[in-house]
């Protein structure tokens, strides 16, 4: 044993405590020397660092990949046009594994290690809820693209914003009148058994009641479930509309098993495209969806009346008319959500320009400037459509699309107004101290 110990014995290798201390002191001296702080006087040209909290792995990985593509496309465009306040954007990506605990660590890492100006880009609601307290503690602005109601609910803090995508409460409120008027009033809901699903459960039922309809059954399904037939007998026989919103790798199985269970004798289906994001609608087993309806944030398939801005956006991100990657027709995008990254980046740009943002010392000014925003016009920066921003609840409101599956494509049959999704705000973040 005595011989083996040598590696760890400092005394024998000639490295004394004194030399070690000298080395440390020399290193510290170097760091403190004036020339070492490279950007102290070059701040005007140093890049603005945006920490991108990405779902590269875990159940959100398919979304994460497309969020990254969209973000890179928008950043390239912004940088080519001169950046923000004359400074280029630099995106620093950290994978959160679609895991709330790692999400919080990633936010901490951005703030203290990468020293990014802000954090951006999170989708899955449980990761947002897990990461938001850390962003609040470290006082770093946190722009999410998550569509959960948690931001608008007032449960998070003043540093969290959702300015590029609407929240679930607004979405379900705006589609409920159309469902009641067009496909049926007795609704059975199937949703994932966690925060995102609860937003649907809590806000769709009152919205459909207000239209004279009723939710006759609610079936929560654990997010890790891989087989669904066992839940289907719980659907009451007098269901007129089956409202489904599912996420994760099991969704395709869910729809296929629904098809096997019902055959042609099925209730009307209304789904959130979340169930089939990144999945080809013409996959084997999905014929069952023909004629059913979906909510879409932004349409996956190019529509006849697409604006120039929408066309330019699709080209920049690299998706074809079917919403799949230009290079690989089988690589279907998460088009209904990923536009939110694009629009959020332009909101950040606007707020940074409004506040004359220079560096991390201006983070509080950036928060106030974001809160002061009120509306975004449809155009290259907001290709999905007009938006109204409520600075008190840090949430944006916009149009929603209802699409019908016809001939293997999704065709938009109804576009809601912004007002359809408005609700009475329940919070005011601006009263919280910065």
């Amino acid at each position: 044993m005595t011989e083996d110990n040598r590696f760890f014995d400092l005394g024998k290798t000639g490295l004394t405590r004194r030399t070690a201390l000298k080395g440390l002191a020399a290193g510290a001296g170097l760091m403190a020397a004036p020339g070492f702080v490279r950007y102290s006087q070059a701040q005007s040209s140093a890049p603005i660092k945006i920490g991108f909290q990405a779902h590269r792995t875990g159940i959100g990985a398919a979304y994460g990949r497309w969020y990254e593509k969209t973000t890179n496309a928008a950043v390239k465009l912004i940088n080519d046009a001169g950046g923000i306040n004359g400074r280029p954007i630099e995106i620093i990506v950290e994978d959160d594994g679609t895991d709330p605990k790692r999400g919080a660590e990633v936010v901490g890492k951005f703030a203290s290690q990468h020293k990014t100006d802000i954090v951006f880009g999170t989708l899955f609601s449980h990761v947002v809820v897990g990461s938001a307290p850390t962003a609040g503690e470290l006082k770093i602005p946190y722009y999410v693209v998550s569509e959960g109601y948690h931001v608008a609910s007032g449960k998070l803090n003043r540093w969290v914003f959702q300015p590029g995508i609407t929240d679930v409460r607004a979405q379900v409120t705006s589609v409920a009148p159309w469902i009641a008027a067009n496909i049926g009033k007795k609704v059975t809901m199937i949703y994932p058994d966690y925060a995102f699903g609860y937003d649907h459960r809590d806000y769709f039922a009152p919205a459909i009641k207000a239209q004279g309809g009723d939710v006759i059954a609610q079936i929560p399904i654990p997010p890790t479930e891989s087989s669904f037939t066992k839940y289907l007998p719980q659907i009451p026989a007098d269901t007129e509309v089956l409202y489904h919103v599912m996420v994760g790798p099991g969704v395709l199985t869910f729809v296929k098993e629904l098809g096997e269970f019902y055959g042609s004798n099925k209730p009307q289906l209304f789904g959130f495209i979340d169930s089939l994001e990144a999945v080809d609608i013409n996959s084997p087993g999905l014929e069952f969806l023909d004629g059913s309806h979906f909510w879409e944030g932004s349409p996956r398939y190019a529509q006849a009346n697409d604006s120039e801005a929408q066309k330019a956006y699709r080209a920049a991100v690299g998706i074809d008319d079917n919403g799949a990657s230009v290079g690989d027709a089988k690589d279907v995008s998460t088009a209904a959500h990923m536009f939110g990254c694009w629009e959020t980046l332009y909101v950040i740009k606007k707020a940074m320009e409004d506040s004359g943002y220079k560096g991390p010392e201006d983070r509080a000014k950036l928060v106030e400037a974001t809160e002061a925003l009120t509306e975004f016009k449809e155009g290259p920066e907001h290709p999905q459509g007009d938006k109204i921003f409520n600075g008190k609840i840090h949430q944006v409101f916009g149009h929603q699309n209802i699409s019908k599956v016809e001939g293997g494509k999704l065709k938009v049959v109804h576009r809601t107004s912004i007002e359809d999704g408005m609700y009475e705000p329940e919070a005011d973040y601006t009263t919280q101290p910065l």
């Binding site: 990985a61 890790t224 066992k230 289907l232 026989a237 790798p249 199985t253 098993e257 096997e260």
Partner: protein, 293 residues
């Protein structure tokens, strides 16, 4: 829905789960029985089987049944080959030390999983079933393919049983399991037997995955559930016992189906875990296992 159709659906669902579970767990049980190592990477061989099935069916054009048939043969062979290489390169060099092999197979789990993520990607991808016949019962419809899984699994289990009890290879395997030193003394190439058993275990997981992939999808994280369930089955049935594994898989699968349909899936998991705890307390060798010498 009335009671009887409800029960029928629950039982059918449970039988499908059992069929796949029995194959997967048998692989785990075999590896433990003969080699005395706990293969934590077993679920990843399952996942690899599904991912390869996707890759094979996507490469072969023509009728889906053709691609599926090729996948059913080729995918387990490839997975078996990978397992054999892993056994030769890693486990053999650790001299099958129980603690070291657990850590090594955990490492293997992460390596396979991350390689799948890198080369296959994060999406869940569907595989077309060889045929899509829907059986319309008076109360609900059911997938004909799912029923065929039960039959296919029963055939494969019979084949495994035949190999283990009626062939020379099976005899050699059983001899190695019974007493390694004596087998060695009688000239049985124990090292080669270990390699073959590890490969066979992985192949059983892979073939189960190929059977299930047309009704689920191939996904790089899909190995976790089968691994946990296989452990539950193997502990209840008794490590190394073929009969015990099949009975325990039926018990866990069918009760999971019935309890989740009538009560909740969470309760089914709670009860399965409770049964494991009770078995460990009152019959540590499992229902059909023999006490270790």
């Amino acid at each position: 829905m009335a009671f009887f159709p409800h029960l029928l659906l629950a039982t059918l669902e449970g039988l499908v789960t059992s069929a796949v579970l029995a194959l997967t767990a048998l692989g785990l049980s075999l590896v433990f029985g003969v080699m005395r190592i706990v293969n934590v990477a077993h679920g990843e061989f399952f996942m690899l089987g599904a991912v390869l099935a996707w890759a094979i069916t996507i490469t072969l054009t023509g009728h889906p049944a053709l691609g599926f048939a090729v996948a059913l043969v080729l995918s387990p062979l490839i997975v078996g080959g990978i397992a054999w290489i892993a056994e030769r390169l890693v486990l053999r060099r650790l001299e099958y030390n129980p603690e070291a092999t657990i850590v090594a197979t955990i490492g293997l789990l992460y390596i396979i999983q991350q390689l799948a993520l890198t080369f296959y990607g994060p999406e869940a991808r569907p595989v077309a079933p060889p045929f899509s016949y829907r059986i319309q019962l008076p109360w609900f419809g059911y997938s004909g393919y799912k029923l065929s899984i039960i039959a296919a699994s029963a055939l494969l289990l019979l084949a495994t049983w035949f190999v283990l009890t009626r062939t020379r290879i099976g005899l050699v395997m059983r001899a190695t399991q019974y007493d390694r030193e004596t087998a060695l003394a009688f000239g049985i190439p124990v090292g080669r037997v270990y390699g073959a058993v590890f490969a066979l275990g992985a192949m059983l997981a892979a073939v189960a995955a190929v059977l299930i992939v047309p009704i689920q999808q191939a996904h790089y994280l899909m190995g976790l559930d089968p691994l946990l369930l296989s452990f539950i089955v193997v502990i209840i049935g008794g490590l190394g016992s073929l009969r015990g594994t099949v009975v325990a898989a039926l018990l866990i699968g069918v009760s999971d189906g019935i309890i989740s349909v009538f009560f909740s899936p969470t309760l089914a998991k709670i009860i399965a875990t409770l049964v494991v705890a009770l078995v460990l307390v009152f019959r540590p060798q499992g229902l059909f296992g023999t006490a270790t010498k």
